[in-house]
Subunit: 410 residues, 2 copies
């Protein structure tokens, strides 16, 4: 949690913390400015002191609303740095940061965070490290300081994710409504006017839900039928006409408008009665999901859930990723991941056996087993998000049914 | 253009180019993989050779569709690197990149590009630079290699931006339709049921246009009435009831679904008849816009357009940013910026006087003068996007009227 930042700075030996960039789509800056809509800002915190925010005067209203002590770029002579260095660039930013650190009385071991372009950030941070009195804190493998803070969510953060969850439920309802409104002709779904209904129509329903809820989709959702769904991240083909009896994997992961918190949810549908094989695969995935959900407990190594999921799928006769990392049939990915300001963050219910993550209060994670059978054109994935409450109890945030077969009523 | 990459590598002395990360919201990677929906990939190009793409097997369909020679992470022993280094992190990625470069016969001066977290990228790139035979190419001030390629757009890229423009026009139409559908009661706009219409209703109309067109808004649009609009990046207040005679600045900048090309457009509206002062300010901004549009010519320094805009506003009696970078009243920002995979990119019609950008064929730029009068609660900004065609002719992509006053018909 954000209140851990001071402690984490001490533990990691940081004298100052710098977070920069635009807030949208930048988990580090978004986190420290509470999602203020800033297009370009620098947040500086000296250990043991309150932070200071340098902002664009065009964004003064949202900067002031953060309540963080602040000043504008012009008030810090930004234009002098631009003139001296011939415009924006790594040298200009490094000189400006060095100036700001000095002005805020900060020196020593400085950590620089925030999302940006590698080709800009690397020379800028290297240059900053050449300032006398400043050394750059280098994160190693394992969680970075801000990831370590972000891994435990506050009730406020969880409440925001629950709101995004409502958009997901409406999107799933929208998909079901389109299927129900149709009628089958020769195994293909049509609307009442006789027009063929497609994957694109389902995706449009998802987007309408995003517009209604004011959430955004910064990667395309997965709405993938049959063989498409067997490559787990295939987005699906909009021109595909919906066919009876095929698996349709719907994996949606919108975030708050302004580039904030994500939710992540997967259901698998079938138009009309599912063939026996799809029913079997569906019930197997559901069984592994429900088992994992029932077993989640504070203090357990996260990788253990992945191992158990592999064991279960192997006992059912499938190949799994722990047997061969190149496997493309069977169970081919991790069991889950943290969700927050990143769609994939700590902790991981997967990865190498050496993954040290341990489930703890405040974690928000997905649980998402799946089976992928490219040769049969069948794919099933089910994904819920759970919150480990402060008292250690597991709360499933995905309060949405697991029905697969949706019957056209047109 | 992308075909410039080979030449730029030679000019900048790069032996190899590495671009990494997720494609969405990552202009560098999105550019080299033509927008393929990749959640995590590494693109490597040795000078004088075809590129190679390393991708997640779950994304094999979209990776193969790029037509780029490729292989999966598991095929490159990624899991061995994860095990050896205890999971993901800067050390693991550096070791893996070093391995991939060697495998692709690349060494020497290596440039690393792509959007990511500074605290991960810096130690990773530094570590990579410790590999024998590899030195890291450091970009200095001025355009980076990929920015230099991206500054000139192909006809295909412009066609994609024109499609996003259509979404913007529909969004503006949606806003006008809501105002027209209303009726004024005591100077405030209401719908036919008597419900007060708000800024939030206008924003909802914008979002519906995004959903219909499948574009996304990764920063919140500006829909800012009266005083809100006088801080140019204030997003506006959803609960504000629409009032007759006030300026409403609408600045919208969606991008293609999947995190691709942007468009950027601003209009300023007024419910009903505008007061004389707002009309005056509006006509002044429009005059500066039309003058700038008429003067744009290949071979001219971009900063000259900003200087002329300042001169014009100063002659009208306003303070401008060139007189004082801290100014918050009058003309307070640059005249425009390049638009493409970034909402703000090269060239810049603003910045320090030393800005070296010169207008050239292939550029796509905004022209967006504005006046901001916090003491009067009046703000006007108008923004078009123009494309400098290969033959040097200027094409205005914002084929949308400049009408300000919208009259309720309810």
């Amino acid at each position: 949690m954000k209140s851990d930042l001071e402690r984490l700075m001490t533990e990691k030996g940081l004298d100052a913390l710098v977070v920069l960039g635009a807030a949208a789509g930048n988990p580090s800056l978004y986190y420290v400015v509470d999602g203020a809509g800033l297009g370009n800002a620098i947040w500086i915190k000296r250990r043991g002191h309150e932070p200071h925010l340098v902002y664009n005067p065009m964004e003064r209203d949202q900067a002031r609303a953060t309540g963080i002590d602040g000043s504008t770029f012009p008030e810090n002579d930004w234009s002098r740095f631009l003139e001296e260095h011939g415009g924006e660039g790594p040298e200009t930013t490094a000189a400006f940061l060095s100036h700001l650190l000095k002005k805020n009385g900060a020196s020593g071991n400085v950590g620089v965070y925030g999302t940006g372009e590698a080709a800009r950030l690397y020379p800028m941070i290297k240059k900053l490290g050449e300032t006398p009195g400043i050394t750059i804190h280098e994160e190693t493998n394992g969680r970075s300081l801000l990831e370590a803070a972000r891994i435990t969510k506050s009730e406020v953060e969880v409440a925001r994710m629950k709101k995004v969850a409502l958009a997901c439920f409406d999107a799933m309802d929208g998909i079901k409504a389109i299927i129900r409104s149709g009628r089958l002709m020769n195994g293909r779904l049509h609307d009442r006017t006789g027009r063929a209904l497609t994957i694109g129509d389902l995706r449009a329903a998802v987007r309408r839900a995003w517009a209604q809820h004011g959430v955004i989709e910064d990667h395309d959702s997965v709405v993938a039928m049959g063989k498409d769904g067997t490559a787990p991240h295939n987005r699906g083909t909009d021109t595909d006409v919906l066919e009876a009896g095929k698996s349709i994997v719907v994996d949606i992961f919108p975030r708050e408008g302004g580039g904030g918190y994500f939710f992540d949810m997967t259901r698998t549908f079938c138009v009309g009665t599912a063939p026996a094989r799809l029913r079997e695969v569906y019930s197997q995935v559901k069984e592994v999901l429900l088992s994992a959900l029932a077993e989640l407990a504070v203090g357990t190594r996260c990788i253990d859930y992945q191992i158990k999921a592999c064991e279960r799928f192997e006992a059912m006769g499938y190949t799994t990723i722990r047997q061969d990392s190149r496997v493309e049939s069977g169970y081919v990915h991790g069991l889950g991941h943290g969700v927050g300001l990143d769609i994939h963050e700590s902790p991981r219910l997967g990865g190498p056996l050496s993954n040290p993550d341990v489930l703890a209060p405040g974690h928000v994670i997905t649980v998402e087993p799946g089976l992928y059978l490219p040769d049969e054109g069948v794919a099933v994935r089910l994904e819920d998000v759970v919150y480990v409450r402060p008292d250690g109890r597991i709360e499933n945030l995905t309060t949405y049914p697991y029905d697969m077969e949706i019957f056209p009523e047109g």
